[in-house]
Symmetry: C2
Subunit: 217 residues, 2 copies
DNA sequence: ACCGATTACTGAACGGTGTTCAATATATTT
DNA sequence: AAATATATTGAACACCGTTCAGTAATCGGT
């Protein structure tokens, strides 16, 4: 039964994204079902095609929302960080992945079918995350550094991402690593140091995972 | 029509893995179809369940084979490397991912359904890759290094993996990076240097991608 | 050489998926 | 009030992975 005036098109999209987000977090991308989401929202199957073009379109929208939640976590950590803002960033990166592993891996597991790629709007929404990191890296490096800050910042995101990816996927390489997040942070510090970052002796007051990591690694 | 003596069970598994490998490389994990593989091999649908337990089991076997091909690429690069063996490793890591992006991402996109995890046999087959890296890292660091070589080596694999992952998935962070592989290598060198690795001045004779990268990054 | 027991394989049935699209119910305009 | 335009449905379709009774091929014992 069509209930045309219950919601605007945007409200309806928000409903599907919200319910889809919950469903994705529960069952993961492999078992994600657009039909199930439609059933939960109380609309029929075909509505997804109307609103998002396809189930892939819905997943793109859900993932973009994940990016925004993720970026907000980073901002929260930065705000409550006392001194070590780099550690706060790494912490925030891992925090989202570990508290919502299905949402996190869906971001990287989902691939658009050949042909179409990400809508510009979604690209913009997702860029916020790297922007936060870029700003912090720029702050922490000397003003006259020889590094290309934008490229270095994104490369450091990749460094952290690699560790995080291995943790979430339970992958071969880091199975026996007791402190992957500490390892990621150590690598980031080493690269930053190579470009003029003064470590400011965080060795004493950073988290225990880190201090435990420093001696041996 | 059962053709019982055409192949031994192992031969038949090899047939499915081979054909499945080709199919996966063509269409990617999202569109992978066990039915299609069975059709290509010339056996019926249910045979996959007999041989591998489920389609997931077949994919696990295919991915383990990918690991072996990948490890062989690393060994080849090392063998033909003149001096810079670290660069050769990074190059091999990227080479497989870029020449077979679907196979590479299937390794990380595939997740076993809740409950069962990787058979021991597959874990062993996949560990070969990291072993190669560990051996090289150990060689290149001073004998009296303070680093835990095993943990550092795996962390460096994660560093390269992160860059590679962003490249293959076309992800937001490295879209405008002209030389992701060079960036990965630069990060690895920086971390190795922090643990006593003497760079031996590769600046002059390494690939141009690397030299172009060094000045600005 | 034959015959029962065992194994390999089939293929139809089942419940699920995403997409499509004629039909319908609701808004909007004239 | 009538005509037009839009939103939503839901059945049909083709595909997916899993299951399992049934059948064909081989093996082991006599």
């Amino acid at each position: 039964m069509g209930r045309r005036s219950d919601h605007t098109r945007e409200e309806l999209r928000a409903l599907f994204i919200g319910e889809g987000h919950a469903h994705l977090a529960q069952v993961g991308l492999a078992k994600f079902s657009g039909r199930e989401v439609a059933k939960r929202v109380g609309y029929s199957v075909g509505t997804i095609s109307n609103l998002f073009g396809s189930v892939d379109g819905l997943i793109v929208a859900i993932n973009s929302r994940s990016f925004e939640l993720w970026a907000q976590i980073l901002r929260d950590r930065l705000e409550s960080a006392t001194d070590d803002r780099i550690a706060a960033l790494v912490d925030g990166y891992f925090a989202f992945a570990e508290q919502s592993p299905e949402l996190w891996s869906a971001i990287y597991a989902h691939r658009l079918p050949e042909g179409l790629d990400l809508p510009e709007e979604d690209k913009a929404r997702r860029a916020g995350l790297t922007q936060i990191v870029e700003d912090e890296i720029r702050t922490v490096l000397p003003a006259d550094t020889d590094a290309d800050v934008v490229r270095l910042a994104r490369s450091l995101v990749a460094v952290v991402h690699g560790h995080c990816s291995f943790v979430v996927s339970g992958s071969f390489a880091l199975l026996e690593e007791p402190d992957p997040q500490g390892a990621a942070l150590a690598r980031v510090r080493e690269s930053l140091a190579a470009h003029g970052y003064c470590a400011e002796d965080f060795r004493s007051d950073s988290g225990l995972g880190d201090s435990e990591n420093r001696g041996s690694l």
